[in-house]
Amino acid sequence: MALLRVLAVARKALGQLAHDRRTVAFVLIVPLVLILVFGYGFGGQPSHIAAVVLNQDRGPAGGAFLSSLPSGVLDLRTVDSSSSAYSAVNSGSAWAAILIGPNFTAMARSGTVTLTLYLDGTSPTITAAVLSAVQSALQSAFGANGSSGAVRITSQYVYGSATTPFIDTIAPGIMALAILFITTVLSIIVLVRERSVGLLERLFASPLRPSEFVAGHALSLTVVALAQVAVLFGSALLIFHATFTGNLLFAYGVLLLFGVGNLGLGMLLSAAARSEFQAIQFIPLLLIPQILFAGALFPLEAIPVAFRPISDILPLTYAARAVQDILLRGWGVGAVALDLVALGIYAALMLGGAIALVRRQA
């Protein structure tokens, strides 16, 4: 691969962009619009939320409470100590831990029920669903006989808090989604344009290698993605006063990796399509399932169970989860390693596929 030619292609693509102010505006405004639109309210109806329970109650009330939990909302797993309950939430394997103390039954008889929850408060939708399930169970277990004068739930937030603003929790998902939108669409369009006027053929009559062509475009779109992520972070921080716990630069890097994979996919599809029209039709096909099933806008738990396997094959699932973990939970490389590996494989496969196919369309 010759750097001169890679840079020539990148420079060409950026030059085209520089001459096209509307596209520049599109590239910078779309992420802003997305974060504004989704920044205000969004709700799903989560189910099968992973949670753990520690029932130390010496009487029957703890069991009665647990059996009153509305079915389907929580997927409960029993743990045997409060430290393992805490670490389940801390490690991300559970959204919530319910701790029922030894005197639960006694307290229930006296009319005041105390319950401790460990919560991962990074998703208000999930937090709200957990709290409402717990409250309604307490209500139906003890409220019916009129004895529940007071129900006290002690909530301890492992991540986030009861007051974590919605924008903080949704911003990482929107960022990943915005990167998906723009990188995919732009890369499909880039190749479509080159094909339509015989340019691709002319480029490949020169000493340009397919890998240099793909790398050059990857480079130019990375520059674009850098600007977009800056807009996203800037608007989240300045407009919505979002506060992120984690490392912004790390999240930036993950988003770029995701972007590179997307543009590989865009070029791959564009090269595989028989016509420009076909290529454009891939866009909704790529975007809609990811918007719905990748956990970027609503938690995966809000997706009907039957559809959940789909989310496992969507790249956005891994990107959104990694960025959420980094920004909201403050996790480091080790904790998001699996997502990084998935994104790395995605990028490598897509770029490799694009390189293999791109010259065919010349």
């Binding site: 010759a2 001169l4 006027v197 015989g198 002319r202 009559a205 000493p207 290698r209 890998s211």
Partner: protein, 264 residues
Amino acid sequence: MSAPASTAVPPEFSASPESRSGPAPAISVRRLVKKFGEVTALDQVTLEVPPGQVLGLLGPNGAGKTTLIRILLGLTRSTSGEAYLLGEPAGARGVRTRVGYMPQDLAVYLDLSVEENVTLFGRLYGISGSRLRSRSQEVLERVHLADRSRSIVAELSGGMRRRVSLAAALVADPDLLLLDEPTVGVDPELRAEFWEFFHRLTRAGKTVVLTTHYLEEANRADRVVFLHAGRVLATGTPSDLKATTGTENLEDAFLRIVRARGGT
């Protein structure tokens, strides 16, 4: 990345009379066949182009001109046969640096400036820095676009766009130029200018191969090849072809040869 094809020249090929004397031919094609499914686009095409000539590749639409050029550039594979450019297998990366190509479609970036187009192709062919600047200045002067170098191509007339495309083919100073219908839709004045320029290049030892279906302008070529239904019907200088067929112009010469072969 595609591995360059073997550069070894087959023995029977190097023994051919043309390549025994003088420099390597600019183009050597032997028994080239290209089939698209049932359709035979090129049928046993053999031709040799010595360096320093303007060769006109003539024939009606569908004769196989563009297919031949695409094979020479390595953009498509032949079904069988051999093709060598400047002594190297067609499509080898080493030789692509030395071949300028102007496709039939304009194939320039309409949304880039004239200069950006020309320097892009310069860089793709491996030139940069001050040499790139001087070369692009030179070719833009040659095609009379030096004063429009900062204009966006989309703002230019059709003839000017064609000149941008030619400048892009010329910028890396190639030894061989493959021009696919460079004069289609070009007004007569500009067409005459192009031809003059092609001859200036051949005097400097370059080779120009161009296709056209305007048979009359091919009178200005050093040699022409008549291609019809994927076959080479005749080759020679324009005056030879007219003399042997006893005709006044290349169009009649072409028709006479086609009829003699029992074609349509």
